[in-house]
């Protein structure tokens, strides 16, 4: 068992849930409401110094009663010590504090968890989809209730994909920077002014009298 668990219990008491060792790695469960506070303590306290956030991901179990878990893989580069921290979220309220203010590298990791599982990170500076395109309307693909081939018909999927804007994956920040350097084409400057993230044309069902 990683000694950080005892230190966490002394510091935070009831916020720290159960802890276990799996395959030599210590897993400690936190209260999901105050996860940012505890993680900041783990990063900044001398003797802990978990300064490297390896990954943020999530797990959903097949048992529908079991909550969804958000997993933080921490590593201390100074002490060469890993720690896995988990927070459980009820499936009807998938919200948790963002850790981007603590580790800037969490930005894209949290966007991926949001994209794939639908967890909202409070305080994230730019919470958009990252793997699927931004106008993707079928839901969050790694959830257990998501069908393998998606929710729409293949024709509808192709239609929506072709209607997506290939340039819309740039953040408004990136577009603004390009605009400041006069490197933005005219049509994209217009889109930036409108704040547009890509438009999917509505299907026209006129043909063949359907």
């Amino acid at each position: 068992m990683n000694p950080s668990v005892d230190a966490l219990r002394r510091e935070f008491g009831p916020l720290i849930g159960r802890a276990l060792v799996s395959c030599g790695d210590t897993i400690v469960y936190l209260d999901a409401g105050r996860v940012a506070e505890v993680l900041r303590w783990l990063k900044e306290t001398p003797g802990q110094q978990y300064n490297y956030l390896v990954d943020v991901t999530a797990v959903e179990y097949r048992d529908p009663e079991r909550p969804l878990e958000v997993v933080y893989e921490l590593f201390s580069l100074e002490r060469r010590a890993p720690l896995r921290v988990k927070a459980e979220l009820a499936k009807d309220r998938l919200e948790i504090d963002s850790v981007v203010p603590i580790w800037a590298g969490a930005n894209w990791l949290e966007r991926e968890v949001y994209d794939m599982f639908g967890v909202s990170f409070r305080g994230h500076p730019d919470l958009r989809r990252i793997l699927m395109w931004e106008t993707y309307a079928e839901g969050h693909p790694l959830r257990k209730d998501f069908p393998l081939r998606g929710r729409f018909s293949r024709a509808e999927q192709v239609r929506q994909a072709l209607g997506a804007n290939p340039e819309a994956h740039y953040s408004m920040d990136e577009l603004s920077i390009a605009d400041a350097y006069h490197e933005l084409p005219e049509d994209m400057r217009e889109r930036l002014a409108r704040g547009e993230r890509g438009v999917i044309p509505e299907p026209q069902r006129e043909r063949g009298g359907e």
Binding site: W133, E138, P147, A155, V158
Partner: protein, 208 residues
């Protein structure tokens, strides 16, 4: 991408030629034009996965695609003749390959290299286009996972054969066909039918 090409894609010369019936002049012209086209097909590589590794091997010295006139990789769609989609096509890349295809100038052809580009392959899931022919028209499908360089070369030679059979009299060959009002290249039921699961995929239900 909403660009209306209409009749502007066909020059006046094409219209005159396509109004002819085949005769001694047009067959000789066909022979010359098709010889020139087959002998200098410039590929536009669209490599997304492991097929692109085999494609690079095909282009490198051992197999040497340049023997068949594909001397130069045209990384600009406007200077290329054949789009080679080497690898799976995610839905997110569908508008990209469509835009590249639209940017290519006529005459243009498409080779779908490998199982995933042709049918979706093992990726029968929410993220993958089930065959690039639902997005762009395809001339030659090269099977394999991935195809060996010999396979791709054979596909290229098949494309040569196809080009040698073309004629200036047939104006429809060089016609641009933009996406229709439904936002698709083909009618929706055809796309659904093309994307039907097959092989081992039929044992998976849509909800599995």
């Amino acid at each position: 991408m909403g660009v209306s090409l209409g009749h502007a894609a066909q020059g006046p010369g094409t219209q005159v030629l396509s109004s002819l019936s085949p005769n001694w002049m047009t067959t000789k012209l066909d022979f010359l034009v098709n010889w020139a086209r087959t002998s200098s097909l410039w590929p536009m590589p669209f490599g997304t996965a492991c097929c692109a590794i085999e494609f690079m091997a095909t282009a490198a010295s051992r197999f040497d695609m340049a023997r068949f006139g594909m001397e130069r990789m045209a990384f600009s769609p406007r200077q290329s003749d054949v789009l080679i989609c080497a690898g799976r096509l995610p839905f997110k890349l569908a508008p990209v390959i469509r835009r590249i295809y639209d940017q290519m100038t006529q005459p243009k052809w498409v080779i779908s290299m490998g199982a995933c580009a042709s049918t979706g392959g093992i990726f029968d899931n929410y993220a993958m286009v089930q065959g690039i022919d639902t997005v762009v028209p395809v001339d030659v499908y090269v099977p394999g996972c991935p195809p060996r360089p010999e396979g791709l070369l054979y596909g290229i030679l098949l494309l040569h054969k196809k080009i040698r059979g073309e004629t200036v009299v047939d104006g429809s060959l060089r016609q641009e066909r933009p996406l229709d009002q439904t936002g698709l290249r083909l009618p929706p039921d055809v796309v659904d039918e093309l994307s039907e699961p097959f092989g081992n995929s039929i044992h998976q239900t849509r909800s599995a």
